[in-house]
C-alpha cells in the first residue's frame, strides 16, 4: 500500500458562521449561567430566590391604593378589592397626602416656588462644574454667585444681603493688592482673610441695618396707609375663603357618609362570599365524626375548625350571622381543650347544626356578581372623589393660612408703628428723663438694672428714682426694639423671610448635603496639603484636626453643634441651627476628603513634584497645575464615596430636632390618620435618597471614564 502525502487545496473556504451554541445569546447563557454544575446550581437557586422575593413584593406593589385619606380608609379599599384575610397592598395614599411635607417640611407653600427655583438654578450652576467642556465658560460666573443666591432665595431678606456677602471677597482682594507690595505674599494672604472676615462679621450687619433704615425712612410715610389698605383688602377675601373652606368641609363630610354607605353592603357581601366555602370546610372536618370517634380525631377536627374561623370578625357579617358565627367559634374554642370524650362527641352534632344554619344564611340576600362589581366601582369612584375633595380642602386651607398670616403680619406691623408713634409722643424727653433719674441716684446703686437688687435701708426717694429710671429705660428699649422690627419690615427690598425652623424634608437634606459637599472639598484638599506640609505647625494642626474630627461620631458633633457651639463663640452671636449643622457636616466630611486626597497625593510619583519644581513653578502653581489635577483624578471614587456618605448622613439631623424626611415620617406616623404606616414612607424616602446617591455614583463613573479617555 502506498501513501500519498501530497495535497493541494482546490478551493479556498469562505468565512462561515460559528455553530449556534458558540454565538449570541446561547453562548452568553452557556458561559455566564450554565458553565458548570456549580454554576447551574447557583443560577437555579438565584432565580428561585429572586422570584420568591419579587413575587411577594410585586403583589404588594401592584395592589396599590392611591386614593385614601387615612390608613383605615386604605384598609377598607384593600378589603373591598380582595378576599378577607388578604389585606396586603401598598398605601401610597400617604405619599399622595403628604408628599409636599416630605419634600419641603413646613416651608410655606406660598414660597415653594423659591425652593424649586433654587433647585433648578442649582442644576444650572452645577453644569459648568460637572460638564466643563459641554457648556459655556461664562456660566462659571453664575456658579460662583450661586452660593450667595441660594441662601437668599431660601431664607429670604433684602436683595443686597447676598451682594454684601460677595463684597467681602472684593474687600479681601483689595487688601491682598494693597498689602502684598508692602509685606509680601504671606502678609497679603493673611491680611486678605482678616479683612474679609472683618467685613463679614463686623461690618456687614451695621451696613445692612443702615440700608434697611434708609429705605424704611423713605417708605415709612406711605407704609401705614399701605398696611391699612392691605388689611382692608384682605378682610373680604379671607371671609370668602373661609366660606369656601366651610363649604368644602361640608362636602367632605357628605362624601365620607356616601362612601361609608357604599362600603357597608360591599363589606358584608365580601364576608358572605368568603365565609361560605370556609363553613363548608368546617362541615367537612366534622363529617363522619360522631359517637364512636376517638379523642384524637375529634381534637384534630376542632383545632382545624378553630384555625379556619380565626380570621372572621363578626362585625362585618350579614344580619343574623354575627351571633351565629360567634357561637360556632366559641363552641369550637371550648371544645379544643375538651378532655371529656362524651361531651366532645356530643358537641359534634351541635356544631353541625350551627354550621348548617349559618350556611343557610349565607345563601340568603346574596348580591349578584354584577352588583358586586358595580358596587366596587362605585366605592372606588367615591374614594377618588373624596380624595380630590380633600386635596381641594388642603389647598384652600393653605391659601387661608397664607392670607391670615399676611393679615397678622400687617396688623402686627401696624400696631408696632402706632405703638412707636405713641411712645414717641408720650415720652418726648424719655432719654433725658432716664439720664436725669440715674444721675439723681446714689453712686452705689447707680448702675443697678433691677429694683429687686436694691440694698435694704435705701431711702424711699432713691427707690422711686431708680424705678423711674428703669421704667424710662424700658420704654426706650421697647421703642428701640419696635423701631428695629419696623425698619426690617418696611425697609426690606426683596423676599419674605422664612425662619430656619420652617425648613425640613428632603429640601433640608439637600441644603445640608449640597452645602457640605461644596465646602468640604476645598477644605479637605487644604487639609490634605497641610498634612503633607513640611511646616511643623501647619502639619500638626492638620493632622490633629483630621484625627479628632474622624475619631468622634458625627452624631456627637451634631449634638455639639446643637448644644455646645454657642459656648465657644463670642457672647451675643446667635448662630442659626441649620448653619451650625452645615458647618459640622462640612468639617466632618472634609476630614475624610483630606484622607482620600492624601491617598491620591501619595500615589503620585515623586518625579512629578520634581519636574514641576525644576521648571520653576512655585508651590501653589505646581499644586494647582500639576499635582492636584492628577491626585484628584485618582481620588475621584473615594471623594464621591465620601460625598454619598455625607448626603445620607444628613438624616442624622433628626436627632437634634431638625425635620429631615425621616424625622417627618415620625411626625406623619404620629397623626391619627397615618398611625401605623411604615413601609410606604420609608420606601419613598429611600427612593429619593437613592436617586441622588445613584446619580452621584454614575457621574463619578462617567468622569473617571472621561478622564481615562482623555489622558491614557
Amino acid at each position: 500500500m502506498t501513501q500519498n502525502l501530497s495535497y493541494v487545496r482546490a478551493a479556498m473556504i469562505d468565512q462561515q458562521d460559528p455553530p449556534l451554541t458558540q454565538k449570541g445569546a446561547v453562548r452568553w447563557v452557556r458561559e455566564n449561567l450554565l458553565s458548570g454544575w456549580l454554576n447551574i446550581l447557583l443560577t437555579v437557586l438565584s432565580i428561585a430566590a429572586i422570584w420568591y422575593v419579587t413575587s411577594h413584593l410585586l403583589h404588594w406593589f401592584l395592589n396599590a391604593v392611591w386614593n385614601a385619606g387615612s390608613l383605615t380608609e386604605c384598609r377598607e379599599v384593600l378589603s373591598v378589592l380582595h378576599q378577607v384575610g388578604d389585606n396586603s397592598g401598598a398605601c401610597w395614599g400617604v405619599i399622595r397626602d403628604r408628599w409636599t411635607q416630605l419634600l419641603f417640611g413646613s416651608y410655606p407653600p406660598a414660597f415653594y416656588w423659591r425652593s424649586i427655583l433654587a433647585m433648578i438654578l442649582l442644576v444650572v450652576a452645577l453644569m459648568p462644574v460637572l460638564f466643563r467642556d459641554k457648556v459655556s465658560g461664562k456660566l462659571y460666573y453664575f456658579s460662583a454667585f450661586y452660593p450667595f443666591l441660594m441662601p437668599w432665595l431660601l431664607w429670604g431678606g433684602s436683595f443686597w444681603v447676598p451682594l454684601l456677602a460677595v463684597a467681602g471677597f472684593g474687600v479681601g482682594y483689595v487688601a491682598l493688592r494693597l498689602l502684598t507690595p508692602v509685606g509680601g505674599a504671606v502678609l497679603g494672604v493673611v491680611g486678605a482673610i482678616v479683612a474679609a472676615l472683618v467685613w463679614w462679621i463686623v461690618a456687614m450687619t451695621p451696613i445692612n441695618d443702615a440700608l434697611h433704615r434708609a429705605v424704611a425712612n423713605m417708605r415709612i410715610e406711605g407704609a401705614r396707609d399701605a398696611l391699612i389698605a392691605t388689611q382692608d383688602g384682605l378682610a373680604p377675601r379671607i371671609a370668602q375663603i373661609e366660606a369656601d373652606r366651610d363649604a368644602v368641609t361640608a362636602q367632605v363630610a357628605v362624601a365620607v357618609a356616601a362612601k361609608n354607605a357604599i362600603y357597608a353592603p360591599l363589606a358584608t357581601e365580601q364576608f358572605r362570599r368568603s365565609v361560605g366555602p370556609v363553613l363548608d370546610e368546617v362541615a367537612a372536618l366534622f363529617d363522619g365524626l360522631g359517637a364512636t370517634s376517638t379523642q384524637a380525631d375529634l381534637a384534630a377536627a376542632y383545632v382545624g375548625a378553630h384555625r379556619l374561623l380565626l380570621d372572621f370578625a363578626p362585625a362585618r357579617a350579614p344580619e343574623g350571622m354575627g351571633p351565629l358565627l360567634e357561637q360556632i367559634k366559641t363552641t369550637v374554642r371550648v371544645r379544643v381543650t375538651e378532655d371529656n370524650l362524651a361531651d366532645a362527641q356530643e358537641a359534634v352534632a351541635e356544631i353541625g347544626a350551627l354550621v348548617a344554619q349559618a350556611r343557610g344564611l349565607t345563601a340568603a340576600n346574596a348580591m349578584s356578581d354584577a352588583d358586586l362589581a358595580t358596587g366596587q366601582a362605585a366605592f372606588l369612584g367615591a374614594m377618588r372623589e373624596l380624595t380630590a375633595l380633600r386635596e381641594t380642602q388642603t389647598r384652600i386651607g393653605a391659601e387661608l393660612f397664607r392670607m391670615t398670616e399676611e393679615r397678622r403680619g400687617a396688623t402686627t406691623l401696624l400696631r408696632n408703628i402706632d405703638q412707636r408713634a405713641a411712645n414717641i409722643a408720650a415720652h418726648p424727653g424719655l432719654l433725658a428723663a432716664a439720664e436725669e433719674a440715674r444721675a439723681a441716684l446714689p453712686e452705689s446703686v447707680a448702675l443697678l438694672t433691677s429694683a429687686d437688687d436694691l440694698p435694704e435701708g435705701l431711702a424711699p426717694a432713691d427707690v422711686a428714682q431708680l424705678r423711674d429710671a428703669l421704667r424710662a429705660e424700658a420704654a426706650l428699649a421697647s421703642n428701640e426694639g419696635a423701631t428695629f422690627s419696623i425698619y426690617y419690615e418696611v425697609g426690606r427690598v426683596g423676599l419674605q423671610p422664612v425662619p430656619s425652623a420652617s425648613f425640613g424634608g428632603f429640601q433640608l437634606s439637600l441644603i445640608i448635603g449640597v452645602a457640605g459637599i461644596a465646602m468640604s472639598l476645598p477644605l479637605g484638599i487644604l487639609l490634605a496639603l497641610g498634612r503633607q506640609s513640611n511646616l511643623l505647625i501647619i502639619n500638626k494642626v492638620s493632622v490633629g484636626f483630621i484625627e479628632i474630627i474622624r475619631g468622634v461620631p458625627l452624631i456627637v458633633w451634631l449634638l455639639t453643634a446643637q448644644f455646645l457651639l454657642n459656648y465657644f463663640l463670642p457672647p451675643g452671636t446667635e448662630f442659626d441651627l441649620v448653619l451650625r449643622v452645615i458647618i459640622m457636616v462640612t468639617l466632618f466630611a472634609s476630614a475624610y476628603i483630606a484622607e482620600v486626597v492624601r491617598g491620591g497625593l501619595a500615589a503620585l510619583p515623586r518625579g512629578q513634584y520634581e519636574a514641576a519644581d525644576a521648571l520653576g513653578l512655585d508651590y501653589w502653581k505646581s499644586m494647582q497645575l500639576i499635582v492636584l489635577p492628577q491626585a484628584l483624578k485618582i481620588s475621584i471614587p473615594g471623594i464621591v464615596n465620601t460625598f454619598i456618605g455625607l448626603f445620607k448622613d444628613t438624616t442624622l439631623v433628626l436627632f437634634i430636632g431638625l425635620f429631615d424626611p425621616l424625622g417627618l415620617s415620625n411626625t406623619i406616623r404620629a397623626t391619627t390618620e397615618w398611625n401605623g404606616i411604615y413601609w410606604e414612607l420609608f420606601i419613598f424616602i429611600g427612593v429619593l435618597f437613592f436617586i441622588f446617591c445613584f446619580s452621584m455614583g454614575r457621574y463619578s463613573l462617567f468622569l473617571e471614564r472621561k478622564l481615562q479617555r482623555e489622558n491614557r
Binding site: P605, G607, Q608, E610, A611, A612, D613, A614, L615, G616, L617, D618, K621, L625, I626, P629, Q630, K633, L707, E710, N711, R712
Partner: protein, 263 residues
Amino acid sequence: MSDAATDRAIDRSQMTVSDEVAIQITAMNKWYGTFHVLRDINLTVYRGERIVICGPSGSGKSTLIRCINRLEEHQAGQIIVDGTELSSDLKNIDKIRSEVGMCFQHFNLFPHLTILENCTLAPIWVRKTPKKEAEEIAMHFLRKVKIPEQADKYPGQLSGGQQQRVAIARSLCMKPRIMLFDEPTSALDPEMIKEVLDTMIELAEEGMTMLCVTHEMGFAQAVANRVIFMDQGQIVEQNEPREFFNNPQSDRTKLFLSQILGH
C-alpha cells in the same frame, strides 16, 4: 557602550567655552541624614562647557547636579548659579530654576496634559508669556526635537525616546542658559537612545552649557569638553575626554573604565 552618538560629523563651530563662569561650586558638602553623600565638591563650570559626569551608582553624581537647581539641598559650602547664590530664599530658587533646564531619567512629563500643554505650561505660568506666543515657541522646539506632529497627543501615547525628546523641548521652552541631564537615556530601549543623544548633540552644537550624568561614553567622547569621574561622593578625576579615556590617572578611574569599556 553605544556608538550611536558618533556616526555623524559634529559641527564644532559654536562649541566655544568662554571665560564667563556659569556655575561655581565651592567646598560643597551634603548629607542624607548621617550619610555623607557629597564631600568637599569644588567645581567651576564656564559658559559653553559640556561636562559629562560619570561614576558607579551611588557615587553622588545625580545628587550633585540635583543640588545645582536645588532639588536637593546642600548643607555646607556655596553654589553660585549665574551669579545668584543658592540659599533657602525661595525667590532665588525659583529664579534659578527657571534659568536652569533639567531632564530626568524617567522623563517626568505631566501625563494629564498634552505634549503642547507640557511645553507651554512653564512659559505661561512662570514667564507670563502670552498663550499664543508660548505655543509658537513650543512648536518651534518640538520641530527642533522632530516631533511637532505629536503636539496634541498625551505623553502616554508616545514612545520613551519621543517622551524624552519632549522633556528636552519642555525645558528648552523656558530658554534656559544651562541644561542638566540626569541619566537621560538610562530608561530607554537601545534603538531609542540614539534619537535622544542626537537631540542632545544638536543642543551642544548650539553652544548650550550642559551638565550631563550619563554612561554614554560615545557621547562623552564626541561632545564633552570635560569628563568628571566621581566615586564615594567625591570628584576623583576630571580631564578632557581624550586624556580621560586614553590615559586615566587614578586606579579607581582605570577600574571603572575597564569595567564599562571592557566588553
